[in-house]
């Protein structure tokens, strides 16, 4: 590949790529995000390829793998072009039939088509499925259109045009201005105005200046950054190059979780090919601007998502945060001016530069502009990644896009913001979602995890879960965080074991305040949030555990007993067969019983029973 020497070179290459593609040529697009791959999609891809070879269709039908489409619940996902027929829950041996019928004869295979669960109507195209239809997929939508390992795919949909526009026609200060005007706020959780961060780094004294992409996505239940990095790595890279130009940086890092092997491999490839094309490295697009990026794999420590801990980790030290009165924009990595932004933030940059701040600022609310990608998970029908404009209501996300709660159960709470966030109860479902509104109810945007909980989720248990997580992940530097979180967890252990006292709630609030005040970084500073919000909104549940020694959701083992509802039991033996300790017993077609002495309350019988004959009390 000859290096691109100018914006004009780039435009003519994009043109040639577009013209070289026949939009009428059949193409099988298979989602190859981590979610779909976990369903075993690699075998499906192999099956498609070998079937194409067997039928000698190599020249006439294309097979392309794409990044994550977001509808993970229905994977493996396949889209057949040119008509864009959308198939879901495709089985590994469906490949031959899809080629024979849909690709060659234009026939639709009914059983693979999405059916609206409410209206039962068949929906043929991806964009008509309610899950997608109600989203605004400005950033994430590109994932389905490109093969993340192909820079040509990205160029063909206009990739790197924003970079060319910035380099050819905008001064670095102008780019910063544009980002400030768009009011882009950090998508990693803090919501700090990105443009002002760039401005400070640009004006800071010291060389070299660094730009860093934070892909240490550690919040459990959040995976949008991974899906962007593995599904559209060039968009993130383009954002970083534009940022580096605006700030005056020559060196960048991508700090990515080692647990994300596909993301590491796709972004590595993207960097290599961008360099080959002259879009990265010395004299980018024939200008005097040079910038290069290195990848750093994280070591599996949650705290390394925090800026100063992340710098320490890149420098080869243990990831422990430091005081924040000196800003990273003045002294960050290697004590040099550093601009750290999250994956999704970087991916927003090309869009803003390309379409302009005025266009961008029209999307969203007064103080939160643009879209946000959320990972909608937990007790929800349509698990997946959703991109929505800021200001949409929680109800629209959970019920409109997410399709509500499985098995018709009752919504109880939605947890946002990861271990630093809080649990939001039903009364706030009609609240608009943006940085400020979420903070008002005691939670936060965080990186965008949304975990839905139903009436079988115990809020005291959830609070305990997050504290346990943070107890393990606290780096141990600040005593209030290290010891305080542990003491709070011990109190919650006691409450869930039925040994709680009335004064415990007050003690939790009191210790929580100390942890917030006495911790250097945001991990400790927000650690008590899950406890404090659950006390605020679900005090009754705490009191039920403490006073009545009951767990209303039937989760806390010490407080529940499993028994058989005689009237419902058909004697099908399902419970007896799955019981790991043989506590559930009975003869065929006769009412079964559960021996309370040997029952370990694992819930296997409850899951196995099809007749609602197991009760938890």
């Amino acid at each position: 590949m000859k290096k691109l020497k100018s914006a004009k070179d780039l435009a003519s290459l994009q043109d040639a790529l577009r013209k070289g593609r026949d939009p009428k040529k059949p193409c099988i697009v298979i989602c190859a995000g981590t979610g779909c791959l976990a369903y075993g999609t690699q075998k499906l891809i192999d099956n498609f390829r070998s079937e194409i070879a067997k039928q000698k269709l190599e020249g006439t039908v294309d097979v392309r793998t794409s990044g994550c489409h977001g509808f993970c619940e229905r994977g493996p996902l396949v889209v057949i072009h040119p008509k864009g027929i959308f198939y879901q829950r495709v089985k590994l041996d469906d490949a031959a039939e899809i080629i024979a019928k849909t690709v060659l004869k234009d026939e639709v295979i009914d059983r693979l088509v999405y059916r609206d669960p409410v209206t039962k109507e068949k929906i043929l195209h991806e964009h008509d499925v309610p899950f997608y239809k109600k989203q605004t997929r400005l950033i994430f939508g590109m994932n389905g259109q490109i093969d993340p390992t192909s820079i040509d795919d990205y160029l063909a949909i206009g990739g790197y045009s924003a970079l060319a526009k910035a380099l050819a026609g905008m001064k670095p200060e102008g780019v910063v201005e544009e980002i400030i005007k768009a009011n882009l706020r950090g998508r990693g959780g803090g919501g700090f105005p990105t443009g002002w961060k760039w401005d400070s780094t640009r004006k800071a004294k010291g060389e070299p200046k660094y730009v860093i992409c934070n892909a240490d996505e550690g919040d459990p239940g959040a995976y949008m950054d991974r899906s962007l990095l593995e599904g559209n790595p060039h968009a993130v890279l383009e954002g970083m190059i534009i940022g580096a130009y605006a700030i005056g940086s020559s060196k960048g890092y991508i700090y990515v979780r080692n647990e994300y092997p596909l993301a590491v491999s796709n972004i590595t490839r993207a960097i290599d090919t961008a360099r080959e094309y002259g879009l990265l490295g010395d004299g980018i697009l024939g200008t005097g601007f040079s910038f290069d990026v290195a990848i750093n794999r994280g070591g599996g420590a949650f705290v390394c998502g925090e800026s100063s801990a992340l710098f320490a980790s890149i420098e080869g030290r243990a990831g422990e945060p430091r005081q924040k009165y000196v800003h990273a924009t003045d002294r960050g990595l290697y004590d040099k001016p550093t601009c750290l932004n999250n994956v999704e933030t970087w991916a927003n940059v090309p869009l803003i530069v390309d379409k302009g701040a005025d266009w961008y600022a029209k999307i969203g609310t007064e103080n939160s502009k643009g879209t946000k990608i959320f990972s909608l998970v937990g007790k929800i029908n349509n698990t997946g990644l959703v991109e929505v404009p800021m200001g949409i209501t929680l109800r629209e996300i959970v019920f409109g896009i997410g399709g509500g709660i499985p098995k018709g159960r009752k919504f109880k709470a939605i947890q946002t913001g990861g271990p630093s966030g809080g649990c939001i109860p039903e009364q706030f479902l009609d609240m608009p979602v943006d940085f400020d509104e979420l903070a008002k109810v005691g939670s936060m945007m965080g990186s965008g995890g949304m975990i839905v909980m139903d009436d079988r989720s115990c809020m005291v248990d959830v609070a305990k879960y997050f504290l346990k997580f943070l107890e393990e992940e606290s780096c141990g530097k600040c005593t209030p965080c290290r010891e305080g979180v542990k003491q709070m967890r011990i109190i919650l252990d006691r409450i869930t074991e039925g040994k709680g006292e009335e004064s415990d709630i007050e003690a939790l609030e009191w210790i929580g305040a100390g942890v917030v005040d006495g911790s250097l970084c945001a991990l400790g500073g927000s650690a008590p949030n899950p406890v404090l919000t659950t006390i605020r909104y679900f005090r009754d549940e705490y009191l039920a555990h403490i006073r009545d020694k009951k767990c209303p959701a039937g989760v806390c083992k010490a407080l529940v007993a499993y028994s058989v509802v005689k009237d419902n039991c058909t004697g099908c033996t399902a419970c007896a067969r799955v019981c790991p300790t043989k506590a559930a017993t009975g003869e065929k077609k006769k009412v079964h019983t559960i021996d309370q002495e040997t029952c370990i309350k694992c819930g296997a019988c409850y899951d196995a029973c099809k007749f609602d004959a197991i009760q938890v009390k």
Binding site: N258, R297, V462
Partner: protein, 158 residues
């Protein structure tokens, strides 16, 4: 062993700031961080044992003990948690007789919990040597454990 460590160090230009990637490569090579390999690392890269020990115990990705033939990782992210991962964890622990983070004495099984694999639609997820098993129940877990040679006490086959 020393030669392999030397080769890894050379790959990173003997630069001390790359110590974490170097440790990651050593871990990948031997499946854990053997004492001799770390000694070789200290001697050849010129770093202190205390630093290496600090890093090896700080980051989750590193293990100072060998891993078993079957490595079981159970996702305990929030979505998996509310979908019943704790019950699966108890069941694996009970069946294999090892707690999360431990390896069985015969080096057959290692069991660990991980914070989030980001495949939440499949939760709870159990990964056995990189193969994903999704939407786990007690019964399905028994079946998987049986398939890798563990002794399981239930009658359920499905």
């Amino acid at each position: 062993m020393e030669e392999k460590v030397k080769a890894i160090i050379k790959k990173y230009g003997s630069d001390k700031s790359f110590i974490i990637p170097i440790l990651q490569d050593i871990q990948r090579e031997f499946n854990y961080l053997p004492r001799e390999a770390l000694d070789a690392l200290c001697a050849n890269l010129g770093v202190s044992q205390s630093l290496v020990y600090h890093l090896a115990t700080f980051y989750r990705a590193f293990s100072l003990t060998p891993k078993g033939k079957y490595r079981l990782s159970l996702c305990v992210g929030t979505a998996c948690h509310v979908r019943g991962a704790p019950q699966i964890s108890d069941h694996v622990e009970r069946t294999l007789g090892i707690k999360p983070g431990e390896t069985s004495k015969d080096l057959e099984f290692s069991f660990e919990t991980v914070n989030c694999l980001g495949a939440c639609a499949l939760g709870p997820i159990l990964v056995v040597n990189d193969e994903y098993h999704g939407q786990m129940t007690i019964a399905k877990t028994s079946k998987v454990l049986k398939s890798i040679g563990a002794k399981v006490e239930t009658d359920e086959e499905a």
